[in-house]
């Protein structure tokens, strides 16, 4: 996990990022739903995020967003058709999976019995019918463990919309309760995943995206 080099650099979630933080961001475009909102959220931070499914463009980016809205097995099918399923696990720069994007980075999901990319060593299950499904709305994230949550307070509210959840594993970096306690964020080396939608989670969500932009790119990525 990379350390922050310059904590003195301040920029509010609504402000623009300056200098070295102005990373090139690629949002992986593989036919998944609402990616406009993610693009706009970065624009509000002063960063133009590019939509692309081109491997060269993805490999060259400083930061990568792996979005996902929709159904898991058909999303995996689209990833396989474009060859992105083999590319994504090899990426060396910070990658942030959002919602279904995070779920697809796990070993498997009960949704459509799909195999995932196997980046996070955990499985995705459906919420039991003891709670309303989908979970829809604002819930808190806690036990925060990552530079991704720098400046985010415990029990901060995030916007969530999902019917499936990731079970806890060693890579859990945030927890949420909804019937059960589950992993609302995961991290494995340069791979990050959040179940919530930072792009829709008001100023706190914007702060998380800003933190993501500030993550150090692993040196190995610079050689590739």
């Amino acid at each position: 996990m990379s350390e922050f080099k310059d904590m003195s650099e301040s920029s509010s979630p609504s402000g623009k990022l300056e200098g070295a933080s102005r990373a090139s961001v690629v949002i992986i475009n593989y036919g998944a739903g609402n990616i406009k909102s993610i693009q706009f959220a970065f624009k509000r931070l002063g960063v133009d995020a590019i939509l692309s499914n081109n491997p060269d463009e993805i490999l060259a980016a400083d930061k990568i967003i792996f979005p996902g809205v929709g159904e898991a097995s058909s999303a995996m099918k689209m990833l396989k058709e474009s060859g992105l399923d083999t590319l994504i696990p090899t990426l060396k720069q910070p990658v942030l999976g959002i919602c279904l994007g995070m779920q697809l980075m796990c070993l498997s999901t009960e949704e459509g019995n799909a195999q995932g990319l196997g980046i996070f060593q955990t499985r995705v299950k459906r919420f039991s019918s003891d709670v309303k499904v989908p979970q829809m709305g604002w819930n808190v994230i806690k036990d925060l463990k990552s530079d991704l949550f720098k400046g985010i307070k415990e029990n901060e509210y995030m916007y969530l919309v999902h019917s499936y959840y990731a079970e806890h594993c060693n890579e859990t970096i945030a927890k949420t309760d909804y019937g059960i306690n589950y992993a609302s964020a995961l991290q494995h080396n340069n791979f990050y995943g959040v179940q919530f939608h930072p792009e829709k989670s008001s100023t706190a969500g914007a702060k998380i995206l800003e933190n993501f932009l500030k993550l150090e790119t692993e040196p190995i990525a610079k050689n590739q």
Binding site: G33, N34, K36, S37, F40, A41, K43, R44, V69, G70, E71, S129, K132, V133, P134, Q135, M136, G137, W138, N139, V140, Y157, Y159, L160, V161, H162, S163, D177, Y178, H197, E199, K200, S201, S202, T203, G205, A206
Partner: protein
Amino acid sequence: MLTKRIVPCLDIKNGRTVKGVNFVDLRDAGDPVVLAKQYAEQGADELVFLDIAATLEGRGTTLDMVLRVAEQVNIPFTVGGGISSVEHVDALLQCGADKVSINSSAVKRPELVNELSNKFGSQCVVVAIDAKQVEGQWKVHLAGGSIPTEIDLFEWAKEVEQRGAGEILFTSMNHDGTKNGFANEALAKLSETLNIPIIASGGAGNVQHFIDTFKDGKSDAALAASVFHFGEIPIPQLKEELKKNNIEVRL
């Protein structure tokens, strides 16, 4: 814990808000983007834009509005009004809408609910139901409540859930506009028989009405228009009061 949601609803016509809105320090109360930002800053959890004209010709204007809202607003929003095809929903979602709300078109062709949830996921399909209690029976009404049907509210709600609706927005026509409170008995029954979130709509007049609909009505979210637009109930104050009454809200 998942919080209860407060949802201001804006009526839109030709890309502008109608019915008037009276916010302090707001130069252009007709611009949905300005209003949406204001609501987001006040702590609204979600927004609903209802296109009340919803003509084919006006569709481009609405899409443009959706794009501008998505560009500037950092909370989720739903768009409803005159939506009846997969293509239209696709266009709205591509412009940045998080969810769409369908009403009459779902009654006319229930398969639309399946088509939308299969293609875009249940999470973005809100089925709005307008119903009126006639001789003890809740009957679904169409076209903004002007056309009565013989369809039972609870049966219809169950059916759309099975077809893949992610949420129900229930407006009681008996309560809408009265400011006498929400239809909590019917809402509680919906909430108990269905396993998807229920948004209460129609009847908000004071803070107690919101407390009641979350406690007695077991609603997951409460939608209102005029009490928010005219500053009768400021959202931060409403949420403080809800919190004091042990209702989980995002503060």
